[in-house]
Symmetry: C2
Subunit: 187 residues, 2 copies
């Protein structure tokens, strides 16, 4: 029954191609440009094929892309752990800057993904853990969970407002330094 295996493999490969195509297109032209028709054309199949892979339709595809993003973010944060709060903060901001559409899918759009719940996917907990790991040592008497959430919120706010041209571009580095200074110091 190796044929069956091959068919299964082909299927998963095609599913991967769908997500990859969606990510590339979103990064190039934004998620609004990611239409089911364009996706179907990119993978050289017809639209209904998308729904056989992702019954949830476009939202499910975005969620799948977001999950990939969480895995990559977790890896980036883990790699930057030695840099402490400053290192992780820098890695987080760099990730958001390098893959803005993916970051949107993860945090702004796609509210389907369960956060901070029992059924939260592991990769998402890992990514969050990358933040906790560097905040925990400097939390002192402060609740590490709350402090991490606020630290994360500050980074997220900086990123989203900066992207929407809400903040002066000149002080970008200063702002990040300030966040690190206010949250990275042991209390």
């Amino acid at each position: 029954m190796t044929q069956r295996q091959r068919r299964v493999r082909d299927r998963t490969e095609r599913g991967q191609r769908i997500v990859s195509a969606a990510r590339e297109l979103a990064e190039a032209e934004g998620w609004d440009a990611v239409t089911t028709r364009r996706l179907a054309a990119l993978i050289e199949y017809s639209q209904p094929v998308l729904y056989s892979h992702f019954p949830g339709g476009k939202d499910a595809i975005m969620a799948a892309a977001a999950l990939e993003g969480f895995a990559e973010l977790a890896a980036a944060l883990t790699a930057a752990r030695d840099g402490g709060v400053a290192g992780v903060a820098g890695a987080y901001v760099e990730f958001a800057g390098a893959k803005p559409a993916l970051y949107d899918a993860m945090f702004t759009l796609a509210s389907e993904l369960p956060f901070a719940q029992d059924d939260t996917p592991e990769v998402m907990q890992e990514a969050y853990g990358g933040l906790v790991a560097v905040i925990e040592p400097v939390a002192g008497t402060q609740d590490a969970g709350v402090l991490t959430e606020v630290f994360w919120s500050a980074l997220h706010g900086l990123i989203t407002l900066d992207r929407g041209h809400r903040l002066s571009p000149a002080h970008r580095a200063e702002r990040l330094d300030l966040v690190v200074a206010r949250f990275g110091a042991r209390t």
Copy 2:
């Protein structure tokens, strides 16, 4: 030529009704539910009338609603000025919680509005000024502008992540207190 005046007044009134209807509908069912057809039905006119008021279409209507939001936010922040950093932070969060759709229009959607530029509308500068006013006294040697931007980003991050169920609902108050503690203390 009072008739001409009356016609002008009717027109502006109708334009106001469009924005009000959009706001109500958005607050009740989200901006996705705000379609040009439903808006037209609400004001009891046909669709093209919307475009005579807002040539930019739906985006322009959202921008107009956002502008109203900035005026209301500015008023709320000004009223809370006596409360210091904690008071203003609380007013900001309360505003976002009371009018979530409006907040989205102001900061998440509608990237047409010019921020931090020369042609930034006055009400937007006023709203931002409401933040600066309480941060400036506690800035110390720190650049007040940068500190305000970071303070604002932290609030904005808290709000958007919390709304997307990204944060644990139990610690909402704690998080706000923590932001105030880290940014409201004189350095």
